[in-house]
Symmetry: C2
Subunit: 250 residues, 2 copies
Amino acid sequence: MTPDGALAGGPAVILIEPQLGENIGMAARAMMNCGLTDMRLVNPRDEWPNRHAEAAAAGATAIIEGVRVYDTTEAAIADLQMVYATTARPRDMTMEVVTPCEAVARMKADETGCVRSGVLFGKEAKGLKNDDVALANAILKVPLNPAFTSLNLAQAVFVLGYEWFQLGEETEDAVLAVPKETRLATKSELQGLFDHLEMELDDSGFFRVREKKPIMVRNIRNVLQRARFTEQEIRTFRGIITSLVKKRKR
Amino acid sequence: MTPDGALAGGPAVILIEPQLGENIGMAARAMMNCGLTDMRLVNPRDEWPNRHAEAAAAGATAIIEGVRVYDTTEAAIADLQMVYATTARPRDMTMEVVTPCEAVARMKADETGCVRSGVLFGKEAKGLKNDDVALANAILKVPLNPAFTSLNLAQAVFVLGYEWFQLGEETEDAVLAVPKETRLATKSELQGLFDHLEMELDDSGFFRVREKKPIMVRNIRNVLQRARFTEQEIRTFRGIITSLVKKRKR
């Protein structure tokens, strides 16, 4: 984050007449979670700085300290080129309505062209006034359960931040985490487990019906394959077999 | 929503030892926003029902009323077949780590095969214990700013719900909302505005340098095209031209 939040990446988050410090703080925390830095307040109900906001920010102090406060929405967006208004209610206006996913894609593309964006969030319960919506280029509407669309303020900010952060994300959809001291077992190590287990099962009389042995072996091998053993776990399981056998042989 | 929350769609949300009623309520609200219905609590710190939770649920009473409380995580997940553990911290375990997006896709596919899923959320600040993580099939990790990954409990629940809801969503990325009483202008109506404006500009001497007129006309038409006028707005703007001209001619 640069000393001037306005110069850092991502859209500005502009809260219009926020009422509860807690919500401002939770919104700041959500921004920090997602790498957004530029928070602006228009006429907050309570004084600023606000200790409830600081507490709820839960460590997102860089955001709270960078907050700028304005008297009007016009002043808060004066340096921006593209403004989105978040609203769940349909407004009787001719205006483009975009999803969060589409909005952040546009913001990212715009940022490449040095076009700065901001997003307006209305006050708790009431949302944005039509006059504020009319200052925006487009409406940002979060697709939600139509029977219950009223989002908590911090959740609304979080949706924006979450989608923004995912844009640049290259996390694999799914990856098997393996502790540093081990690694996935090789097929040869797994075969060692199969051989060990099947030998002891033979020895213990588990395969009483000989003609069923092939299918039973396949089924046992299947479930063990699915578990994706590490080399360490193969050793643990071979120890388990040895231990169980010892009890029987005693 | 069915009378028994467990029969409704979507994964169960299982909060382990939640401390603040407010967070339970906000999580319930987030679930309702996203069409999730099945909330379960394991050893909440405060008594249940909890008036702070009810207040923070902000109308998501169906979720709050459907909550089931358990003494152990094992009991809370007994009827489920797939369990995901949310955690930001790496654990020294061999376990698959999936993104929210991947997790909900799997849950949806599993639901088709009548496989029920649930997601474990740890207590505020501390997160899940390793013993709870070990009850899960996979870790659900939200890709976030690596310098600040600690999510508010309700935000974590919201990410799950948001991704779940988006799966079934078919909202257009961007659509121009137009008030019912009007419609986008046709090219012929727009041409009428162009002709009217250019005629009056000719008349007022705006195109002093004749050879520049073609490019000026193109530029004016360009910006007006971009505005995507409605038929109503065309009439308004033609009224504006007439009104401005009247002042000059007076």
